[in-house]
């Protein structure tokens, strides 16, 4: 079990929270909620240790396109980078609905 945290600059206010995904083998749960200020904060709790660089690469890619001021909490059970990106995009979609 490893805890990883990242911060990214943000520009847009987010109004709604979102909860997508499940904590199950190869999947993850994403909780997204509005955060005051001009940054986004991500905290990841993962069952698979030693992949901090991979998480950073995936989140860098996600935040290259997304600039919402949010707190994102991820509970990961060994998801692939593809599933992580899909869940993050799903969370954004739900928060904009």
């Amino acid at each position: 079990m490893e805890k990883i945290e990242f911060d990214y600059p943000a520009q847009h206010k987010v109004l709604k929270r979102a909860h997508v995904g499940v904590v199950g083998s190869g999947d993850l749960e994403v909780l997204l909620e509005p955060l005051e200020g001009d940054r986004a904060h991500v905290s990841i709790q993962t069952s698979v240790d030693g992949f901090k660089d991979t998480w950073k690469a995936v989140l860098d890619r996600f935040f290259a396109k997304y600039d919402g001021a949010v707190r994102i909490e991820i509970h990961d059970a060994g998801a692939t980078p593809g599933s992580v990106l899909l869940r993050l995009e799903q969370a954004v979609e739900v928060s904009q609905r």
């Binding site: 995904g21 499940v22 199950g24 083998s25 190869g26 999947d27 069952s47 698979v48 240790d49 030693g50 890619r61 059970a77 692939t80 980078p81 593809g82 599933s83 990106l85 899909l86 869940r87 799903q90 739900v94």
Partner: protein, 232 residues
């Protein structure tokens, strides 16, 4: 399609493999064999069928070591397979009573077997519990979840999904139920969720979001393919 003795091989099937063939094939393909795996496969020569690109001669398989970080994403040909066990066949195998007493995931399987006597779809354990039952080695840990695989082409209603999820809640271990249709796999828990709109469908080409897992749209498989290519 990859068949073994006339039977379609599916994701989550467990394979007893010939370690020499497996290692020779990996070397011939130029695949990297992790340090721990070479010795390991000679002792525990079992693999699980992974989701992914499959041809008549090449099947994606996963080798799971004793440690959580020890996973080898390998491939094999039909020649390397000695026999095949589907998750539902594992219900007929029992773990040692001492193991059931100390591993919550094994206890949970015993409870679920009693609760699901009336369940008429093929189902069985996957993950570490499946490996333990197939190999007879201690693969499950005290913290292990119980992974369950249900194989069905016949739609599961929302009511049925909720009922089966409720039965699998509050057992000694967390139970993670994966439904496998001929097209893809998905989480029964996510499918049964009241507020859900789209769920994650695991296709051989990668994950994709879809609202109805019972509607098999070839477009979705292509979407998954382009998503994986574009994003990774």
């Amino acid at each position: 399609m990859f068949t073994y003795k006339g039977r379609a091989v599916q994701t989550h099937d467990l394979l007893k493999i010939n370690p020499k063939y497996l290692l020779d094939e990996a070397t011939a393909r130029g695949d990297t064999v992790p340090g721990w795996a070479e010795e390991y496969v000679r002792h525990v020569s079992f693999a699980v069928v992974r989701r992914g690109f499959t041809s008549e001669t090449c099947l994606p398989i996963g080798i799971r070591g004793y440690d959580r970080n020890q996973r080898w994403a390998a491939s094999c040909s039909p020649h390397a397979i000695l026999y095949l066990i589907a998750p539902s066949q594992l219900l007929g195998l029992a773990a040692a009573p001492s193991r059931v007493a100390e591993v919550p995931a094994l206890q949970s399987l015993e409870i679920l077997k009693a609760l699901w006597l009336d369940f008429d779809r093929p189902w069985g354990p996957g993950g570490s519990v499946g490996f333990e039952l197939a190999t007879g080695s201690n693969m499950a840990h005290v913290e292990s979840d119980l992974d369950i695989v249900i194989r069905t082409a016949k739609p599961i209603t929302l009511e049925e999904a909720k009922f089966r999820c409720a039965q699998a809640t509050d057992l000694p271990a967390t139970v993670d139920i994966r439904v496998e249709t001929p097209a893809w796999g998905f989480s029964l828990k996510e499918y049964a969720r009241e507020d859900r709109k789209e769920i994650l469908l695991r296709t051989p080409n990668g994950p994709v979001l879809g609202s109805d897992p019972w509607r098999n749209e070839p477009d979705m498989l292509n979407a998954a393919k382009s998503f994986e290519r574009a994003r990774l």
